[in-house]
Point group: C4
Chain length 192, copies 4
C-alpha cells in the first residue's frame, strides 16, 4: 500500500461526499420567497457540513504530506475516518430539517466528534509508524488545535441536551478555529 493510493482514494471519497451533500437540497415545488425561505435551514446545515468536509480534506492532505511510512493500522483508521465522514450527509439532511430538535443535533455532534476522534487516532498512528523524530511527529506535537476541536465537539454533544443548536454550532466553531490561517502551514505552502 503506497501512501499515494491512500491519498487518492481518500480524496475521491471526500470529493464525492462534499458533492452528494447537495442531493438533499430538494428544489421546492413552489416558486415563492416563502418556499425559498424554507430552504434556509437545510441550506445552513449544508454550508456547515461543506466547510467541515473541506477542512478535513485540507488537513488530511497536510498530514500525509509530512508522512513517509504507513502500515495496516493506518489504513484501517483511515477507513474509519472515511466511514464517519460518509455519515455526515445523512446527519446533515436530518439536522437541516430540524435545526432546533435535540436528537438530530446530538447525532450531528456525535458524528462530528467521531470524525474528529478518528482523525486524531490517524495522527497518532502515523506518528507511531514514522517514529518520534519524524516530521509528522514534530509538526503534530505543536498542533493543539486537533484536541481542542475534539473537546468542542464533545461539549457540543452534551450541550444539545439543553440547547439543541449546539450540535451544528460546535461544528461551526471548530471550522472557524481551522479557518484562521496557520503561520506554520502557510510557510509550507509558499515552498510551492
Amino acid at each position: 500500500m503506497t501512501k499515494s493510493r491512500v491519498e487518492a482514494f481518500t480524496d475521491g471519497v471526500i470529493a464525492i461526499l462534499i458533492t452528494i451533500l447537495v442531493l438533499d437540497l430538494h428544489a421546492p415545488e413552489d416558486v415563492t420567497w416563502i418556499a425559498l425561505r424554507q430552504l434556509g435551514e437545510p441550506f445552513f446545515a449544508y454550508v456547515v457540513s461543506f466547510i467541515a468536509i473541506a477542512i478535513y480534506w485540507n488537513n488530511h492532505h497536510h498530514l500525509y504530506q509530512t508522512v513517509k511510512k504507513i502500515d495496516g493500522t493506518v489504513l484501517w483508521v483511515n477507513t474509519a475516518l472515511l466511514f464517519w465522514l460518509s455519515i455526515l450527509p445523512f446527519a446533515t439532511a436530518w439536522v437541516g430539517e430540524h435545526l432546533t430538535a435535540m436528537l438530530p443535533e446530538l447525532i450531528y455532534a456525535f458524528v462530528s466528534f467521531m470524525c474528529g476522534l478518528t482523525y486524531n487516532l490517524l495522527d497518532r498512528c502515523l506518528v507511531r509508524v514514522n517514529g518520534a523524530n519524524s516530521r509528522v511527529a514534530i509538526v503534530s506535537k505543536h498542533d493543539r488545535k486537533r484536541w481542542l476541536s475534539l473537546a468542542i465537539y464533545a461539549v457540543g454533544c452534551l450541550l444539545t441536551f439543553v440547547w439543541p443548536p449546539a450540535g451544528l454550532g460546535a461544528s461551526l466553531m471548530v471550522s472557524v478555529l481551522w479557518f484562521i490561517p496557520n503561520q506554520r502551514v502557510e510557510q509550507e505552502f509558499r515552498v510551492k
Copy 2:
C-alpha cells in the same frame, strides 16, 4: 499543499457535479411524446448547466497550468468556487421546472454570478501569489472575458425581475462567449 492535489480535487468535484445533474432528469411515468415534451424544459436547463460546468473545468485547468505557487488563500477561494458550483445542480433542478418564474431564474443567475465572482477572485489571488511578472499575471492581463462574463451574469440577475428567462439566458450567453476558440489558448494547446 501541492498544486496538483488542488487540481485533482477540483477535477473530482467538478466531474461529480456535472454527472449528478442528470439525477434531476426523472424518467417520466408515461411513454408518450407529450410526457417526453414535458422534459424539454428540465433538459434545456440541464444542457445549459452542463456546458457552464464544462467551461469552468476547462478554464480552471488553463488557469492552473500557468501557475507556479499557491497559498492558503488560494485554497480557500478555490473551495468557495467549488461551493458555488456545487449549488448549480440544485438551481438547475429548480429552474428546469419553472423556466418562466422569476425567483428560480434569479437564484440561478445569482449562483452563476457567484461562481464567476469566486473564479475571478481565484485569478486575482493566483496573480498576487505568483507576482506581476509571472505567466499567470501576463495571461490574465489580456483576458477581459472573465470580467465581461461577470457583467453579463449581473445584468442577467437584474433582468430576471422584468424578464425571468434572463437567468438561464445569461449563462447561455457567457457559454457562447467562451465557446468561441481563443487564439492564444489554442497556441498553448498545440504545444502538446
Copy 3:
C-alpha cells in the same frame, strides 16, 4: 491542456456514470419473488448500459494511448461525448420501466447513436490533429468496428418504430461486437 488531464476527467465522469446507474434500481417494498421478478426489466437495461459504458471507457482509453497532440476542438468533441454518455442513466431508467414501448426505446437508441457519433468525431479530430502518419491515424484506418457500430445504432433507431426492443437490442449487438477480443489491441496489451 495536457492529454492526461482530459483522460483523468473523462475517466472520472465515466466512473461516476457507470456507478449512478444503480441508483435507478430501487429496492422493492415487498420481499417476494414476484417483487424481485418485476426488477428483471430495469435490471436488464442496467446490465446493457453498464456494458456499453464499460466499453466506451475501454475504447476511449485505447484511443488516447495512441495520441500525441490534442487541441481545443478535441476538447469540445470529448465534452460532447461525455454529454451524451451522461444522458444514458436517464434513458436507461426510462427504458428499463418500459422495455416494449416505442418511445423510450427510440430515445435509448438515439442517445446510443449520438454517443457513437461523437466518439467517431473524436477519432476523426484526433487523426486530423496528429497527422495522417501518426499512430492514431494508422490504428484508426484499420478499425471499421466504429462505423459498423454507428450503423447498428442507426438501424436500431429506425427498427424501434416497428419493433421497440430494437433500441436496447442494438446496444447489446454493438457490445457483443466489441466484446470479441481484438487481435491488434491484445498485442498492445501484452507490451505491459
Copy 4:
C-alpha cells in the same frame, strides 16, 4: 491498457460505490429515539457493506501491486468484479429494510458470492498472464483466505433458506477474516 489506468478506474468506481451507499440512509421524518431506532437495521446493513467494499478496495490494491502484466481478459474480469460490486448498494438498501426476510438476504449473499468469485477469477487471470514464477503467483499460492471467503458466501446463500440473517452474517464473517492483520502483507507495508 496500462495497469495504472485500470487501478485508477477501479478506485474511482469503488470510491463512488462506498459513498452512494449512504444515499439509502434516509433522514427520518420524526425526531424521536423511536424514529432513530428504526434506522438501526438499514444502518447495520450499511456498516456491513461499507466494510466489505473497503476490504475489496484494499485487497484489489494489494493484488495489483504484485502484478506486472495485464491483458484483455483481465480487463473484462475486472469489469465483471466492478459490476457485481456496483449492485451491492441496491442489495444493501433492500436487505437493510428486511433483515429477517429470506429473499433480500439471499440476494445479498448471492451478490457477495459473485463479487468473491469474480475477484478470485481476477486473481487466476493475473497469475496466468504473469506466469507461474511471477510475484503475483507466489503470493497467491499461499493465500487461502480468498477461497475460504468464497465458501463462506456460498454457505451463507444456502443458510438464508432456513435462517435469513445468514446473508449479511456471511459478509460479516468474511470481513472479520480479512480484518485480522496479515503478517505477510504487513511486511510489504513497512517497505513504504
